[in-house]
Subunit: 180 residues, 2 copies
Amino acid sequence: TNSKEISFGNRGMTLEEDINETNTYYLSRNKAIIHKKPTPVQIVRVDYPKRSAAVIKEGYFKQASTTDYNGIYREKYVDFEAKETKNKTSFPLSNIHEHQINHMKSVCEHGGICFLIIRFSQHDETYFFPAMKLFPYWESQFNGGRKSIPYKDVQRIGNLIPFHYQARVDYLSIIDHLYF
Amino acid sequence: TNSKEISFGNRGMTLEEDINETNTYYLSRNKAIIHKKPTPVQIVRVDYPKRSAAVIKEGYFKQASTTDYNGIYREKYVDFEAKETKNKTSFPLSNIHEHQINHMKSVCEHGGICFLIIRFSQHDETYFFPAMKLFPYWESQFNGGRKSIPYKDVQRIGNLIPFHYQARVDYLSIIDHLYF
Ligand SMILES: [Mg+2]
Ligand SMILES: [Mg+2]
């Protein structure tokens, strides 16, 4: 068994941290209300020490049934998943789960704004990729197609998300451009 | 120290369970996509046993910064908190946290449908109470007002949510009535 203390503050700026900071900034400016959903945990055993906080002593990570982020912007429901890849030439579809695809399809049907945020860390680029454009790639992998989205396609079909000092992943600017 | 195995399946039907079943039903009928957010957990220590799933060995419950449920219905962003009380004559405002109030105010400003679901378990009644009607009660407690909402007010201002076999807390029927 390998035990590990998790230090959430010391990993450098991951995509998730950049998005969380961006969301905090959006919230502080009252631009949008978008939050990351907590990691789902199956809690099995809890200790209740006297005069101090309950301690989870046994728990397991559960697979998320939806996407990472959702909320409201300009009266619209917004829903997205964030993924980072070290791959230079493509985004592997194995990063996404089928129930997430099903969730994203439903959101699109119900009129929500749904997309992926894909970071190619080797290129230091972060893209906005609409869910509607993702589904054909997802389907084609089961019909002999490739199991990834070429980097060139992400560049061509997606939108490069600008970096700003306060909105480090300024995806609302892309939403403004595409949906309003 | 008092240690406890948590059995999530054997508590009888709590309000949360009724709502979760209702949401599952709505989802299965493609009526709405509304999920409970996972309980936020601060994970401190994780074991990684060989050939089996990671085990959380130390974690703490964090206070939720938003509400319990959100999602999309009829192209609208929906956001609510569910609360159960055993009190017969009033709903104590201590059940709600200030950051939840702030969150609900923001949601209202951004055009979302925001409300409380309040169950009076002794009356076996569950009410839909719009967030906009909650705020005056919340404010008045800091100006010498009472620290609870009288049951009579909930009856008068809120809407009794019907029970159906599959939609056990059929709050969408109230949304249809109030917002469309
Ligand atoms: Mg993710
Ligand atoms: Mg609750």
